[in-house]
């Protein structure tokens, strides 16, 4: 009886095979092709740390650049790199192309080069903070000159500010340079 009802129901329904134009909706949470924004990346290595199949790795050109590498063949689309990246440099886009091939170099392997910059204070080559992060940090009115500092010099500048706040005469001995 149930089958009869089903057969009748099926006769009255249109075909269940989808036409090419009738694509299923891709949910916004879909984890598709990975994109990486070198301008936001600080080469912190978190994404490589959380990536179980080791789809992400780094190479270095000492003093000049750090390169971030990704190979889609090893990626399991878990999305952990996107979730854990502190500067939101990685996105798994929902509008993934249906198929990819390596001929055009179109995303089977990604490489981002993050150029090192010399510190405006001590000259050490370092990965600059992403512009958006700097804007957020410096919005509070920090010294504009510190934008070009390396992490060590930023730390030095912060502790110098702390010392000035504690010593009433505001005297800070210049020259407290960190050792490299």
């Amino acid at each position: 009886m149930a089958m009869l009802k089903t057969i009748l129901g099926n006769l009255l329904r249109p075909s269940r095979t989808r036409a090419p134009a009738d694509m299923p909706v891709v949910p916004p949470t879909y984890r598709g092709a990975l994109t990486h924004d070198a301008g936001r990346c600080t080469a912190c290595g978190t994404c490589a740390f959380v990536c179980a199949p080791k789809a992400i790795h780094f190479t270095q050109d000492p003093g000049i650049s750090v390169s971030w590498h990704f190979f889609i063949g090893q990626c399991s689309f878990c999305g952990l790199c996107e979730q854990n990246c502190p500067t939101r440099a990685i996105h798994l886009r929902a509008d993934v192309p249906g198929s990819t091939n390596s001929a055009g170099g179109d995303g089977l392997r990604l490489e981002s080069v993050i150029h090192l910059q010399p510190c405006t204070r001590c000259g050490a080559a370092h990965v600059p903070l992403p512009a958006a992060t700097m804007d957020a940090l410096w919005a509070a009115g920090a010294d504009e000159a510190e934008r070009g500092y390396c992490p060590d010099c930023r730390r030095w500048a912060a502790s110098a500010r702390l010392r000035t706040a504690f010593t009433p005469d505001g005297a800070v001995a210049e020259g407290g340079r960190h050792d490299r």
């Binding site: 949910p27 879909y30 984890r31 959380v50």
Partner: protein, 359 residues
């Protein structure tokens, strides 16, 4: 004349490799030996070489069908070691995903079972229904399998609009109640192939230590969700389904009625989703030295995890015992004295998952 007959490891009925060596006399099976281990991947050892974040991605791949169960059970174990209390909302979301996974697993089984008894139109019906579950899982998690929902201390993704998933549940309940369950329980073809076939008595069930729907179809009322409620099962209330017959038909009915219970659990969990955070901790997890054992009810029965930590970046030991590991050997007593033609539906009736048995 008696003859022996190897079935598998490449299988006519299932897509995973395992081997059944049967001794037959004419059409009747006299004895059978089950061999597993063809897709061994050494996940337990690999887990000791991955950090606490990577291990979850790895463990999720223990099984292709009940992936969430494994990741979730592992996270529960790590949370127990670290003394992290799961936020209520995260517990509800985990329950919803776990029950959706049970639905899709049981529907997959029902489809494969229908196919094994040569009932192709029922297979089509079942898989159409299963698509609704897969769509819901995809809408919530972004993936049809390996949802990546779990992290130590909570879940990674929210269910922002719980009411949006209710129509799919209604369609499922309707499809199950009007097509799948009546066909399996009333259709003469289905009955002829399943009733009285592949019996496992209560005593045998105890002796072979089967778990999950196989045990419940042999009259053993065991279900971790009821016996030792975890996540939100205590809040939502839970009724286990038990049948005394012990044949393939009983296993079908147990799974079918369990699906109705899952639909109810999901609906209630969606409607009563408590507000609050998704995660108890932020950033990368730190697990102190310690050890924990956790049992959860996977779609195929009790999954058991032992996790030990020495306080380092990776777990010191992850021991996984999956439900199919104990259910698969029980095929041996089930097929004894049965016609050879029923072998495929009998072995399908324990819902063997080779991927998680071999790990």
């Amino acid at each position: 004349m008696p003859y022996s007959f190897p079935l598998g490891p490449y299988h006519p009925a299932l897509e995973e490799p395992f081997k059944v060596k049967v001794q037959c006399k004419g059409e009747v099976i006299e004895s059978a030996t089950v061999e597993v281990g063809f897709s061994y991947r050494g996940i337990e050892l690999l887990a000791q070489k991955r950090n606490w974040v990577e291990v979850i991605t790895l463990i999720e791949r223990v099984c292709g069908i009940c992936s969430n169960t494994h990741a979730m059970t592992f996270c529960l174990a790590a949370e127990t070691i670290a003394g992290i209390e799961l936020p209520k909302r995260a517990a509800h979301i985990r329950t919803i995903i776990a029950e959706l996974e049970r639905l899709h697993s049981h529907l997959l089984w029902a489809g494969v079972g229908a196919e094994d008894i040569g009932f192709h139109s029922l297979f089509m019906e079942v898989f159409t229904l299963r698509e609704r579950v897969m769509d819901t899982l995809e809408a919530i998690s972004g993936n049809r399998v390996n949802y990546g929902m779990n992290c130590i201390g909570g879940v990674l993704r929210d269910i922002p609009d719980p009411a949006a998933h209710l129509p799919a549940l209604d369609a499922l309940a309707k499809g199950l109640g009007e097509v799948v369950i009546p066909t399996f329980t009333q259709n003469p073809t289905a009955l002829a192939r399943t009733r009285g076939v592949g019996r496992l008595s209560r005593e045998q069930a105890v002796e072979w230590a089967v778990v999950g729907p196989v045990a419940r179809a042999s009259g053993l009322d065991i279900d971790v969700r009821k016996d030792q409620p975890y996540l939100s099962y205590a809040d939502l209330g839970f009724e286990s389904v038990v049948r005394p017959e012990g044949d393939v038909q009983a296993r079908v009915v147990v799974r079918a009625l369990e699906m109705m219970e899952s639909v109810r659990l999901i609906r209630e969990a969606l409607l009563s989703l408590p507000p609050g955070p998704l995660r108890a901790t932020q950033g990368l997890p730190e697990i102190p030295a310690g050890e924990a054992t956790i049992r959860t009810e996977a779609p195929r029965g009790e999954a058991f995890y032992y996790v030990a930590s020495e306080g380092g970046a990776s777990p010191a030991r992850v021991k996984i015992r999956t439900p199919s590991f104990v259910n698969i050997p029980a095929i041996e007593p089930m097929v004894m004295g049965q016609p050879l033609a029923d072998l495929s539906i009998i072995q399908a009736s324990v819902d063997p998952c080779i991927s998680c048995t071999d790990r």
